[in-house]
Amino acid sequence: MSTHVQTTGNQSLRTLLLFLGMALLLVWTGWAYNANLALIILNMGLISAVMALGVNLQWGYAGLFNIGVMGFVALGGLGAVLTAMPPTIDAWQAGGLRIVIGLFIGGATIVIAVMTYQRLPTGPRRGLITTAIVLVGYALFRFVYVPGTQAVEAVNPSSTGYLGGLGLPVVLSWPVGALMAAAVAWVIGKITLGLRSDYLAIATLGIAEIILAVMKNEDWLSRGVKNVNGIPRPVPYELDLQNSPEFVAAAANLGMNAVTASTVFVRLNYSLMFAAVVIVLLVLAQLALNSPWGRMMRAIRDNENAAGAMGKDVKKRHLQIFVIGSGLCGLAGAMMATMDGQLVMSSYQPLRFTFLIWVMVIVGGSGNNFGAVLGGMLVWWLWVMVEPISQQLVGYITAAMPEGWLRGRLTDVAPHTRLFLMGLLLLLVLRFSPRGLLPEK
């Protein structure tokens, strides 16, 4: 009993120290490089922490191996576009209605097909009729929908060519992005949550690819690969601040020049907003984890059969946590699009938005919410900072080296030493704390 208490005591001390260490790293970055850089890393680190919390919910609590994170993050970004961008009136007039009707037909087709399939008795007739419904519905859908999309996409394609959004404040997109991701996750979960371990993983990955494919190719929705820029901001623009005499004066009072002050101010605004989100989520996650709900989840993770026999509805719970975790990824996606001010489809790469997030969770310590947050911040910091560090390293090494093949190769691949260093650090961290920096108790 006493040892138990002691280990938890140690654990909180460790947590405290590690977070302190993380803060020091950021401060050091600010000091050695620049405050702005530190803030940028902090902000993206906080966003990463939200994603890591989402993944940790799914994996750490429930053992769901979701590597479709990227798809949900992208959906969150879509949420930001649909919420905050101004509507394109011309596009709506050109074909908005057709698209809406088309989508409705598509949806109705699926519903009718499913219902017929369920109602009809088994037999070849059932298959035939359902197929016929699907085919007719699909043809009808294409007939209505495709001209609509073409009309919309033809409206000033280089700058709009899409329906636009609702023109609402961008912060609203955070819940919207989360909800969109959650809704999609619900559908996906219904279909795939019967799968386990790596089979679920590849299915979620596949679904993420499908989501991405749709977002990349349906230009009327969010311009596809042509990207959406200039998503309105929830914080002031630096240029406006620089042009505002009060701000310049205030900056001068603090002994800063206006440019630096404005950029720092804007970033700080983001930091505060993001930090607030992370803290709220962390508190909720901790409360949940340490409640009977969390206990039930751990039981399900440990042994689904036994949990089922003990009266826990495993499917429902899996779905619940899948939806919540994915919702968090959507939230993070919306936050990220807000900060970037743009939606760039080509940046949604599995390496960056799925595997890196997983690294965050595992390095932080799966099953531990603080670990997820710490992992999110730390791994992101590494991801960004190994670049200059590795360049300097190569610089030192090659400087001391005689001219020759090796030196030539090294300078050639200098940019790639970034990956090498990242890999090395990852291995080192996992070597010295194989269960993560903050292991689950």
């Binding site: 799968l195 291995l427 269960r435």
Partner: protein, 337 residues
């Protein structure tokens, strides 16, 4: 009649031959991944980069051989260099195991931790390959490229459609067939093979049966090295070598291994073909074939395409998911950790 032949040749040329060859390429890669999963119990994300490494070494030896004036007649010289590539790759993998993976295996780390560790290995191999050979495309195929060359076929047959069959395609398919047969025989019939499976099933009990875990692990890595290097070299011969593409191969390879049933060599082969064929068939535009087959009046104006090629990746994944819904652990009922 001629139209019928033309249609058939078009299908053969654009669908059947390419998909078969691609399927075999994926399958060979998936075999290695599935073996690691089955016996060492983790998904190795460095697999694609290991493939690149093996290929890089083989390219080095190929150049050496060519420098010595040795070639392999109509076959690519790289095949002669392949054994050397395999040996070096095996040594590299054993080194990786000794320095990295063994530690986690001994501690009974969770598979997902091993997987994350393998991501670290992936980053490092990424660098090693770029350090060794750079980021550019490297062509290293020599010998006879075509068994049937498209234009020659067209001239010879007088058909409208061409047919091409590459040497590398044939070699790949044959190799994949041999590899899976050998592997199947090895795992299910030989003593060592069974000890590998026993180890993968229950490590403690394997110990109690006198199975030497270090030997099991070593044998596994050596087989994986052979498969991986062969897969990488055959792919590189067929297309070209480029470090980044090998990383990109990782996902389809894993998809193949998973849909076939992880840990099962037959599954890897089946999975490879499923992925390859679904990519090629579902997005195929049937216009050409239909134009040959239907009377002129009925010839389609549109492309007669179910979905654009924009969705090819999505479609192959959709098919994968559907397969998994009916067979939750893959076609051949694979392992699930």
């Amino acid at each position: 009649m001629l139209d019928l032949i033309n249609a058939g040749v078009a299908l053969l040329n654009f669908i059947i031959i390419p998909a078969t060859a691609y399927g075999a390429q994926l399958a060979l890669g998936a075999l290695g991944a599935t073996l690691i999963y089955g016996i060492l119990r983790f998904s190795h994300f460095g697999h694609g980069d290991n493939m690149a490494f093996g290929t890089m070494i083989t390219i080095g030896f190929t150049n050496l051989l060519l420098g010595l004036g040795i070639t392999f007649g109509p076959f690519p010289t790289a095949l002669l260099a392949l054994p050397f590539g395999i040996i070096v790759t095996a040594l590299m993998m054993l080194l990786m195991d000794r320095t990295v993976f063994r530690f986690y295996r001994r501690r009974r780390a969770a598979p997902v931790v091993m997987t994350m560790v393998s991501l670290g290995v992936m980053f490092i191999m990424n660098f090693v390959v770029r350090f060794g050979i750079g980021v550019d495309d490297v062509l290293f195929a020599d010998g006879t490229r075509f068994i049937i060359a498209a234009r020659e076929f067209r001239d010879w047959s007088g058909l409208d459609e061409a047919l091409s069959l590459r040497m590398t395609q044939v070699i790949t398919v044959v190799t994949a067939a041999i590899a899976v047969a050998l592997l199947f025989w090895f795992l299910n019939r030989t003593r060592t093979g069974k000890s590998l499976r026993a180890f993968s099933d229950n490590e403690d009990l394997a110990l109690l049966s006198g199975i030497n875990p270090d030997r099991v692990v070593m044998v596994t890595w050596i087989i994986v090295a052979a498969l991986t290097t062969t897969a990488g070299v055959l792919y590189g011969l067929d297309k070209s070598f480029k470090a980044f593409t090998y990383f990109q191969l990782l996902l389809p390879m894993f998809a193949a291994a998973v849909v076939g049933g992880l840990g099962n060599p037959l599954g890897a082969i089946a999975g490879g073909f499923i992925i390859a064929f679904s990519e090629v068939i579902v997005t195929y535009a049937w216009k050409k074939v239909l134009t040959y087959l239907l009377p002129d009046a009925l010839a389609p104006a549109g492309l007669v395409q179910l979905l654009g090629t924009d969705y090819k990746f999505a479609v192959s994944f959709a098919i994968l998911i559907i397969v998994l819904l009916f067979r939750p652990t893959g076609i051949f009922r694979g392992k699930s950790l």
